[in-house]
Amino acid sequence: MAESTMANGNANTSDWQDRYYHVDQVLDRPGPRTDPSFAAGEGVKDFLRNKCKILVIGAGGLGCEILANLALTGFKDIHVIDMDTIDISNLNRQFLFRPKDVGKPKAIVAAEFIMKRVPGVKVTPYYGKIQDKDDDYYLQFNLVICGLDSVEARRWMNATLVNLVDPENPESLKPLIDGGTEGFKGQARVILPTISSCYECSLDMLNKPTAFPICTIANTPRLPEHCIEWASVLEWPRVHGDKKVDTDDPEHIGWLFQVASKRAREFNIEGVTWSLTQGVVKNIIPAIASTNAIIAASCCNEAFKIATSSAAYLDNYFMLIGTDGVYSYTFQYEKRDDCPVCGGESMDISISKEWTVERLIDTLTERQDIQIKKPSLSSGDMHIYFQAPPQLEQATRPNLEKKVSELVKDGGEITVTATTLPFSLSLRVTFT
């Protein structure tokens, strides 16, 4: 292989002859399906290695893999954001971390590791929240890859990049590549903000989180999970008041485990274990290195194809199920006209004339395609209900018991906002 005489697209001293022998085979000539606009050769290598700036959100299971792949394929200016520190349970898959790193910030340890292993690559870590950064920060990147396990953070990132799009400035459109895994399953997708369907468009595709009705937990427990929920949702606040459960504190888990076990014994329910207790209260999702590798590779492959035009990029969704053979499905997820982030049209909702504002709020928090926590409602200039600040909450609280139909006319619009989301949702309400 050393006999190759292909030149390098870079004067960087760390780029030894043949460093990119493998990747260059893709960049030096088009394939049969490559778009004619692909300019093979030095230009594309120069862009990839010297100009392209890419942001990675998350330095966890997907993030570690994404950083390594990007570095090897020739991205040299990589930024990474993560607010977490390393836990021992990360070590079965987050391969840039070692036992000595437990407790340190993921973004910083991961960046140092990559720079040490792959010379000439600059990884700039930020140990903090994505919400700390403003539009100018996000505008500096050519591409964003998200490897997160939090729905909320992804919604924020998605909405932020959609809002960033300025039709006058094509540079403001930042392709977003998003990956996610659960056990042997995962998905990767390419989002062109405002052009293709966004993360919010497909919110109802997510598995519904298992929520146990409070009356089951309180009165008719049947499963060990019901006993654990009883311990954490009802007993903990009763006994400990305002003190929150720290799901990483073994004494807290121990307390919940003990209380749940006692309740299970009372009701002859089997199966409360430490592991299940922890799984339920932390909402643990099984995770393995191999699935993360597949999905991260898929994300990086799309990033590479977008950055180089060496092949068409994914349009727009790839899902994989590895439990029974290898099953995957590549398809185009359609943009939703009433998507609150990229759709522009308001969402229609039909409710009974008798519904109170409180009931509407409960419904909104339960709907799979909305998933909003603690929403505030207004209509035109009128504040219907506001969660904060306290004065406004107090002033609008009496409205909770009023009927929606007393406050808004049939076909009228309600604007829904939440502090956790950088967008507002507009609802067109009709009464039945």
Binding site: M1, A2, H22, G31, S89, N92, F95, G183, I269, A289
Partner: protein, 541 residues
């Protein structure tokens, strides 16, 4: 108050000490939730041979070292080239150039997990295949993984491992640029814990006596409203089935119209509109016409049962259990069905009824487990089988899987199969054949620079053979796309493809080793230009 608090703390730390997981369990927590301690133990005793330290090979190994396999050996005689140092995360960049590739990769893989043993071996695979000792050594591993071997060497390796059904399985991985495929060569692979997400039969069409007695004891007109709203759905369905049979000559609903009527009758039993247990029964009514004593998948499986005299050496325990299962199903004292499941779904009912029905299922399942073990002892008096294995088998009897594989390359040797495959799965089979063509050319000594779309196309034509009818346009296009892409990147092991394969192949290796979940049977084809995967070349049924 203070005293209470300190007692509380003392008690809490006692519980933490007694139950909190140790550091190994904490490290592996996210994977133990998928394959439990039994799967982990299997991984820890696995010994894996990988025939190179290419980027793809080390990517695969990374995903096996992290979850904690017992041992790996990298067999690689080459020294690190500058190109290797550029695309492989498990080499020390330019510092590794000129040093043995295997020895450079092993420590960087081992540092991922202290408990894994790793060895670098610089011998030639070809020369090992030449000697008895070498061949025995290869066969001593529990799994062999081969990436981008020349067709000739690969055929020799596949031949060796196929000779006996007790030899280790072989995973063949081939890649070029954005294109790849991989294959598992294994005679038979038995899966007890397939983790199927389908519901096992609750045996509602043929209830066991205790369950039937409960259903009989309930008179809808007599029970009080609270109890009525808490009758578990299996009881509701059994009662409805009894009523239906009386009206329909002992039959259950068959036609769609009958099924619809049955559901309507279930929901009509509601005394109040919000009785969720009846709604649930309506939703679960499909069980009454889909549940069979033995599902068709398991019926097929039972045809592979082997009586004591013909018990195979490989997977003998599984085959003995399969034979026992066959005897169990037809046993005069048995239920005439697969052993009852003891895991019930949640139901809209109160605690007392749920615990009661759960206990009934558990007791019945225990009795059937005992009968199963009795039959096993009678049929195989000399066999020693781990009791835990028998219990797992009985528990998972509804979801057993048996993979019957074939030798690597058999698909390619069947021209008619290749031809008809091309017609149906044109791009998948075209991609597979393009890779076969590439490695055939390499094994005949072709220089990478001589690999062109034309030379590949000629080799594809030889592989596929002259079809009586000309290939249709879609097939032509699929072949052109595949050979064109392979010709673009004949020797490229690009990092993203390596990582993608690293994940997919490790998933399959984990499934093979743990005997949990279901591996592929055929060639998994990967095209990262189109971002798709497919499966071709499954053995004919």
């Amino acid at each position: 108050m203070l005293q209470n608090e300190s007692q509380d703390i003392e008690q809490a730390s006692a519980i933490v000490q007694a139950h909190a997981p140790d550091s190994k369990t904490r490290r592996y927590d996210r994977q133990l939730r998928l394959w439990a301690a039994s799967g982990q133990a299997a991984l820890e005793s696995a010994r894996i041979l990988v025939t190179s330290a290419s980027a793809t090979s080390t990517s695969i190994l990374k995903n096996l070292v992290l979850p904690g396999i017992g041992h790996f050996t990298i067999l690689d005689p080459t020294v690190t080239a500058p190109a290797d140092a550029g695309n492989n995360f498990f080499l020390n960049g330019f510092d590794s150039v000129g040093k043995p590739r295997a020895a450079e990769a092993v420590p960087l893989l081992r540092e991922l997990n202290d408990s894994v043993e790793g060895v670098a071996d610089t011998r030639e695979l070809e020369s090992l295949l030449d000697s008895d000792m070498g061949r025995e050594w290869i066969k001593s591993f529990s799994l062999v993984i081969a990436h981008n071997l020349s067709a000739k060497t690969l055929d020799r390796l596949a031949e060796l491992l196929w000779e006996e059904n007790t030899n280790p399985p072989l995973i063949v991985v081939r890649s070029a640029g954005f294109i790849a495929d991989f294959y598992i060569q294994v005679h038979k692979h038995c899966v007890i814990e397939s983790h199927s997400e389908t519901n096992p039969s609750l045996r509602l069409t043929k209830p066991f006596p205790a369950l039937q007695a409960w259903a009989d004891s309930i008179d809808y007109d007599e029970v009080d409203p609270t109890e009525h709203a808490h009758i578990p759905f299996p009881i509701i369905l059994i009662k409805e089935a009894d009523a239906w049979r009386k009206e329909h000559d002992g039959n259950l609903p068959i036609s769609y119209a009958e099924q619809k009527l049955f559901k309507a009758q279930v929901i009509a039993r509601q005394k109040k509109l919000d009785e969720e247990n009846f709604e649930e029964a309506e939703g679960q009514a499909v069980r009454m016409w889909s549940e069979k004593p033995v599902s068709s998948d398991i019926s097929t499986l039972l045809t592979f049962a082997s009586p004591a005299e013909t018990l195979p050496k490989a997977n003998y325990a599984f085959h003995a259990l399969l034979e026992t299962l066959k005897l169990f199903v037809s046993h005069p004292n048995g239920p005439g069905a697969l052993p009852l499941t003891s895991t019930l779904p949640d139901m809209r009912t109160d605690t007392e009824s749920y615990v009661k029905i759960q206990k009934m299922y558990k007791e019945q399942a225990r009795a059937e487990n005992a009968l199963f073990k009795k039959i096993l002892k009678e049929a195989f008096p000399d066999l020693s089988i781990d009791e835990g294995l028998v219990d797992a088998f009985v528990k998972n009897a509804h979801h057993l899987k048996l993979i019957r594989g074939r030798k690597f390359g058999d698909f390619d040797r069947q021209r008619t199969e290749l031809q008809s495959g091309l017609e149906i799965f044109n791009k998948e089979v075209a991609t597979h054949v393009a890779l076969s063509a590439l490695f055939n050319l390499f094994s005949r000594g072709s220089d990478p620079t001589s690999i062109t779309p034309e030379s590949l196309r000629a080799e594809v034509n030889t592989l596929v053979g002259q079809n009586s009818a000309p290939l249709n346009e879609e097939v032509e296009e699929a072949i052109d796309n595949a050979v064109g892409e392979v010709a673009r990147t004949p020797t490229a092991d690009i990092p993203n493809t390596a990582a993608f394969l690293g994940g997919l192949v490790a998933q399959e290796a984990i499934k093979l080793i743990t005997k949990q979940y279901v591996p592929i049977n055929g060639y998994c084809v990967v095209d990262l230009v189109g971002s798709w995967t497919g499966l071709v070349g499954q053995p004919p049924a």
